[in-house]
């Protein structure tokens, strides 16, 4: 160990080679997955042979898969609305109000991000069963919306810290009421963190599986549809849909990155996790 560290600190080239290997490890599975989505010979087998687009053609005609995509889009959209509608006031409250249990509230909100998904999923299952609700896309939406409030709160709280209070003060002094001030001054100033959080919540909800696993009713979300097919066997069609998901996640990330760069110059994707680490 000591020897390795010694080598690494003296010789940054060895270190860059190691970093390259780590990158290879992180990306190899994704690259392989994409390559085999064009493989006529199936999900495995080296070398890949017989380039084909037929898995994508099969995917295009797969009604059940697209139903689940539609379900996921609806869930993610609604979860995004819930998280924002609660995350924005929560961030304002954390920034401006003092109330009993403030620390507890902060930690509780962050908990679903750090706890294994199974614990949050089961706890919510017990709640919904206790309330006599049938499991459906609605229960999944409520679960995602709640679990992801932390993302909205963290991003918007950070935005509020940078906000110039004088603007709001001026608005209030000039006779606008709190609602008008919020609507015309606070909210427009928070536009970018809100859009950034919305994008992230949407992506995370689209991918979420551990909590959904316990709250699922008759209709599948996309990850659960893929999951149920994996239990039956693997086909390159799953590689194809995974590639499509990857491309869309990538697009969302690039968009997110641009927004962040606009707001702060120094973009920090994953700030929620760092925040979670520091708050807990």
């Amino acid at each position: 160990m000591e020897l390795l560290v010694s080598a690494a600190t003296r010789n940054p080239r060895g270190l860059s080679f190691y970093a390259l290997l780590v990158f290879a490890f992180l990306y190899a599975p994704i690259v392989i997955l994409i390559i085999y989505s064009f493989n006529g010979g199936g999900v495995g087998g080296f070398p890949p042979h017989a380039f084909t687009l037929s898995w994508y053609r099969i995917l295009l005609g797969d009604g059940a898969m697209w139903d689940s995509v539609l379900n996921s889009l609806m869930v993610a959209g609604a979860a995004m609305a819930i998280s924002l509608l609660l995350g924005i006031p929560a961030a304002l409250a954390l920034d401006r109000a003092s109330f009993p249990g403030k620390t507890l509230f902060r930690r509780l909100v962050l908990l679903p991000l750090i706890l294994p998904g199974i614990i949050t999923g089961l706890s919510l299952l017990m709640l919904f069963v206790g309330m006599g609700m049938h499991l459906s896309l609605l229960t999944i939406t409520l679960g995602h919306g709640t679990a992801l409030i932390s993302v909205a709160t963290t991003d918007i709280f950070a935005g509020l810290q940078k906000l110039d209070r004088a603007q709001e003060e001026a608005s209030l002094d000039l006779g606008a009421n709190y609602w008008q001030t919020f609507w015309r001054v606070t909210l427009p100033n928070l536009r970018l963190p809100i859009i950034g959080a919305a994008l992230l919540i949407f992506t995370l909800s689209m991918d979420e599986i551990a909590v959904s696993f316990f709250l699922i009713g008759r209709d599948n979300t996309l990850p659960l549809e893929i999951w149920s097919r994996l239990r039956r066997g693997m086909t390159p069609e799953i590689n194809a849909i995974s590639t499509v998901i990857f491309v869309f996640s990538l697009a969302a990330i690039v968009l997110w990155y641009r927004l962040r760069a606009q707001t702060e110059g120094q973009p920090e994707l994953g700030a929620e996790l760092v925040e979670a680490a520091e708050a807990n």
Partner: protein, 282 residues
């Protein structure tokens, strides 16, 4: 500057929501763990410690928990061994490419968990990419069967999934180290190795602790990777909980196991927070 009404308006809705959809559910988990299931498969609300006695009596629960912790510990170790040097390289040696490389580490983090676990399944299977590659270059004659459906597959996949989680806080803590401390160490005659051991590493301990906690906690509770890649020898504690909530229909016992897991996790978070505070310099 903000009136009482304003503060109430922004505080009460999120508080109520979080109470109903987070506090009550976690409290329910607690309650369920003291209830029982009757022979007619209904939940009986007679408070007792039977489920916890069961956990102590039947060894398979404790053994599986230990195995899960062992898997999680290995994931944590590998995630640190991959994540720390990477973070160190990015923070101190990457130069102008720093931001780009940072994004490159983060991208896999937002790529679907399931997609990544599935990718490993296509690589490790007996007809998978790796086995057929090894046979293609004549390194092996028969597929290596231990690659898939083993704790190895679970550790490998979870390491892949959680390395960026370990990387993030480590990188953040390295970035927070004032560069003039490092320069001072050099100027005072310390070798790069001494600077690393005596200045950089101690100052990055809070990040290491946070990263280690993430990797350990998140992999400890995982049940999808074991289901997909673990086989019978890769079963983890959450898989038992899943079956207790499904076919076995014993929610109270499942809740008791979940609560033990929750307490373990919260305990670890608390411990790592205390240690982080102790090690942080600001």
């Amino acid at each position: 500057m903000f009136s009482r009404a304003y503060k109430t308006a922004v505080t009460v809705p999120p508080l109520l929501w979080v109470a109903v959809f987070l506090l009550i559910p976690y409290a329910l988990l607690f309650c369920y763990s003291f209830w029982t299931v009757s022979s007619s498969q209904t939940i009986v609300h007679n408070w007792n410690l039977g489920n916890y006695a069961e956990l102590l009596r039947v060894h398979v629960y404790f053994q599986t928990l230990l195995r899960s912790m062992w898997i999680a510990a290995r994931v944590m170790l590998f995630a640190l061994l991959l994540g720390y040097p990477l973070a160190y390289y990015l923070s101190f040696h990457a130069g102008a490419r720093k931001n780009l490389l940072y994004q490159l580490v983060i991208i896999p983090l937002w790529v679907s968990y399931l997609v990544r676990a599935y990718a490993w399944k296509t690589i490790l299977g007996s007809d998978g990419v790796l086995n057929t590659l090894l046979q293609y270059v004549h390194l092996t004659r028969h597929p290596l069967e231990f690659l898939l459906y083993s704790p190895f597959a679970v550790v490998l996949t979870l390491t892949h999934i959680y390395t960026p989680f370990a990387f993030l806080p480590i990188y953040a803590s390295l970035e927070h180290i004032p560069r003039n401390l490092v320069e001072a160490s050099h100027d005072l005659g310390a070798s790069p190795l001494q600077t690393f051991w005596r200045v950089i590493l101690p100052l990055s301990i809070p990040g290491v602790l946070a990263g280690a906690t993430f990797a350990f906690v998140l992999s400890l509770g995982d049940f999808l990777a074991p289901l997909l890649l673990g086989g019978p020898s890769g079963i983890m504690i959450s898989n038992i909980v899943v079956s207790l909530f499904g076919a076995a229909y014993n929610w109270p016992l499942g809740a008791a196991i979940s609560l033990c897991m929750l307490l373990l996790v919260v305990g670890l978070l608390f411990l790592s927070e205390r240690l982080e505070k102790k090690w942080s310099y600001s």
